[in-house]
């Protein structure tokens, strides 16, 4: 599915829309940056509780099109700026990481 359709399906609060047409077929969840760096599949949506600017560098290098901040977390201003610059979609979900991953799984995303 696309970034845009995923955002709509999960009713995410969008901070930056990024490239809504990019494809998302996989997912990754984690707050350890090296875990995501080492193991995120290509084109994955990333669910995390971190909110700082360094998420953007990982997203760029791992070609992650969408970062979902779980449990209603708000992005640091520097993260939002960097996501805009790098065209990475950034959105907040009210649900916990567990709930978001469950919803992504129901949408057909694999790990």
């Amino acid at each position: 599915m696309t970034v845009l359709s995923l955002i709509e399906s999960l009713k995410l609060d969008v901070h930056n829309g990024g490239d809504g047409n990019r494809s998302v077929s996989r997912g990754v969840v984690g707050d350890l940056l090296s875990f995501v760096m080492g193991g995120a599949p290509e084109g994955a949506a990333w669910v995390t509780l971190q909110t700082h600017v360094n998420l953007a560098a990982v997203a760029v290098l791992k070609e992650i099109p969408l970062v979902i901040l779980a449990s209603g977390r708000t992005p640091d201003p520097e993260l939002l700026d960097r996501c805009k610059k790098e065209n990475i979609a950034l959105a907040t979900a009210a649900g916990s990481p567990f709930e978001i991953c469950g919803a992504l799984h129901d949408l057909g995303l694999k790990g």
């Binding site: 090296s34 080492g38 971190q50 360094n54 560098a57």
Partner: protein, 148 residues
């Protein structure tokens, strides 16, 4: 392409705002040179982890990438505190990162293991009080100009 292409970046210690920029520029260089994406993805893991080690542990240093038709070499050099026990440093989960860095999701003891997993060859020379040079190599099975 030329038979030898080299880029070098200065990485500042403790600069978490700029962290990742050198890796990003190296990735863009590899894409520009037509290096296959499977290789540039491995290279990104290596450069990012090496760059973060420079930011977190060594007070900064240089990150260099050398591309020849046979291989990609990534070298991180610093004049930081050095690694007293390399064997221990390579162990998954071992970290000397301070708490404030761990709270950001760094310092999980996965950096060097990530580098090793994505390298065809990894050499680390380190002397306590003098610094560390990490050299990671990825071999091209095809020429880097051969796009998949």
């Amino acid at each position: 392409m030329d038979s030898h292409y080299e880029v070098e970046f200065t990485v500042r210690g403790d600069d978490f705002l700029a962290a990742g920029e050198a890796s990003n520029q190296i990735k863009e260089t590899l894409i520009m040179l037509g290096v296959p994406s499977a290789i540039s993805r491995r290279a990104s893991v290596i450069t990012y982890e090496a760059e973060m080690n420079l930011v977190i542990h060594s007070g900064g240093g240089t990150l260099r990438a050398v591309i020849t038709p046979e291989k990609l070499t990534i070298q991180a050099t610093d004049r930081g505190p050095g690694i007293p026990d390399l064997h221990l440093a390579m162990r998954e989960g071992f970290s000397t990162a301070p708490d404030r860095v761990r709270e950001m999701g760094f310092g999980a003891g996965m950096g060097l293991p990530n580098i090793k997993r994505n390298s065809d060859n990894l050499e680390i020379e380190s002397e306590v009080g003098k610094g560390t040079t990490l050299t990671a190599t990825i071999l091209f099975h095809e020429g880097p100009g051969d796009r998949r």
